[in-house]
Amino acid sequence: MNTAPAPGAHWPLLPRAVAENLSFYYGAFQALKSINLPVADRRVTALIGPSGCGKSTFLRCFNRMHDLQVGSRYEGSITLYPENINLVARNVDPIEVRMRIGMVFQKANPFPTSIADNVTYGLRLRGMKSRVRLAEALEKALVGAALWDEVKDRLEQSAMALSGGQMQRLCIARALATSPELVLFDEPTSALDPIATAKIEELIATLRDQVTVLIVTHNMQQAARLSDYTAFMYLGELVEYDTAAKIFTNPARKATEDYITGRYG
């Protein structure tokens, strides 16, 4: 199978990041096989594929979450533009990478502290001390995550008292607070009800103009609704990458077709 995007694929004019010949190994197991994929600037790129196809592994490469795994190994590169930094190079500090790339997980994971502390944690870690500036950043992030109106009167209460959907939006606010260039979402709505899911989707749609989003989802309709570009992965390989409209109406490859129509090839 050819892992390069299918001929005729619409590459974005402005990629924020590009993976080139990216392979990843968990010890002897090769989880990613020479992936070539652009992540369009200030657009939503969705990764779809069956469980175990490597989409989460790929996503995690962006903020170096595999580094602590014994025996893990990257090959190839993920170039972050405009500075041309190779995110997976040894000499690049993962802490530095994570300051610029936020991540939201499947299960909301707020810190067991107040709502306000959750959001401002990253900024305080970076040395921001001014109460005024922290309060401004707090409001901006919570407004950005469409949570401000619901929590503005109880910012000092524990984050653990929020509902699942609110917790997830709090995590998004936390990720947004440090003004990341790229936000990674790993199945952000798979544990939420349809209403909370809709709110998160709405939120991601409004983020589109400001930040670059890379999202892994098992929900095909969600990928179709949300993403501008969609990549289909299978068994560690990139099968097809194109605009979401093309992938969901007329994919070029049979494997993609089979997957999105619910026929297993």
């Binding site: 109406t249 129509t261 026929r263």
Partner: protein, 256 residues
């Protein structure tokens, strides 16, 4: 890429839904084709009871369109089809509209047949003028239904080329009718009827052509409406026909 076949869904009931939808469309197509055939036969034989059957059967065609439309809405709502399945449903929604209009044209011819059956044959027996056009229109309709049944884009393209013959034939019928009317004013009324029949048959050709275009869309995902046959041919050649890119619309059981 020219042909597609329907394969198994993980959800077998989804499979059955899509298969039933396809067979319903073919059944509707069969009814519409027989309506047209009978309308022409009634006209040729001055058979008022056959013409009456055609007129009364029109309601069945309309009901089928409504039922299939409902089923398409239900599938869209409950299954959220994607890719080839989505194209199948969208193409079917459009196909049945065209089939229903073919039904309308058959109904018109049936009504004219009813009126002519009550008239003196004499100068009014002009059926032979439209006989060839009728045969061509019916053949093209059957061809489009066949193309739909087999999901054969290549055959659809061939069928598209035939529409031109109908257009030319329609021109010829018009010229003949004008000649009749100039020669003998008493033929004006039956000639106008014949013109209506010819016009209906020409429209049938257009609808059959539309159905062929939907099949090309369904199989390859290319919208080929409003472009010339030559351009369609070119675009089909240009956009790869490799097996890898073949659309996996799969036939559950082609025998069914």
């Amino acid at each position: 890429m020219e042909k597609a076949e329907l394969g198994q869904h993980i959800l077998s009931r989804y499979n059955e839904d899509l298969e039933r939808l396809r067979s319903d469309v073919l059944q509707m197509g069969g009814l519409v084709a027989s309506q047209l055939h009978h309308a022409l036969q009634a006209l040729a034989e001055h058979n008022s009871s056959l013409a009456g059957d055609v007129v009364s059967n029109e309601a069945r065609v309309n009901q089928m369109e409504v039922d299939i439309d409902d089923e398409c809405s239900r599938i869209l709502a409950t299954r959220a089809p994607a890719a080839s399945d989505l194209r199948l449903v969208v193409a079917i929604i459009k196909t049945i509209t065209d089939l229903e209009r073919v039904g309308d044209e058959a109904h018109k011819i049936g009504n004219i047949g009813l009126r002519q059956a009550g008239m003196d044959r004499g100068a009014g027996d002009g059926y032979r003028i439209v006989r060839h056009l009728g045969r061509e229109a019916l053949a093209l309709l059957n061809q489009s239904l066949d193309v739909f049944a087999r999901l054969d884009a290549k055959a659809a393209l061939e069928a598209l080329k035939h529409d031109r013959i109908l257009d030319e034939e329609f021109e010829a019928v018009q010229r003949q009718c004008i000649t009749f009317m100039i020669e003998d004013p008493r033929t004006i009324r039956p000639s106008i009827d014949l013109l209506w029949v010819a016009r209906a048959l020409e429209r049938v050709g257009d609808h059959a052509k539309n159905i062929c275009e939907y099949v090309i869309y369904m199989v390859g995902g290319r919208d080929v409406r409003h472009i010339s046959v030559q351009d369609i041919e070119l675009s089909l050649q240009l956009t790869g026909t490799s097996d890898d890119s073949a659309v996996a619309v799969h036939r559950q059981d082609s025998a069914s």
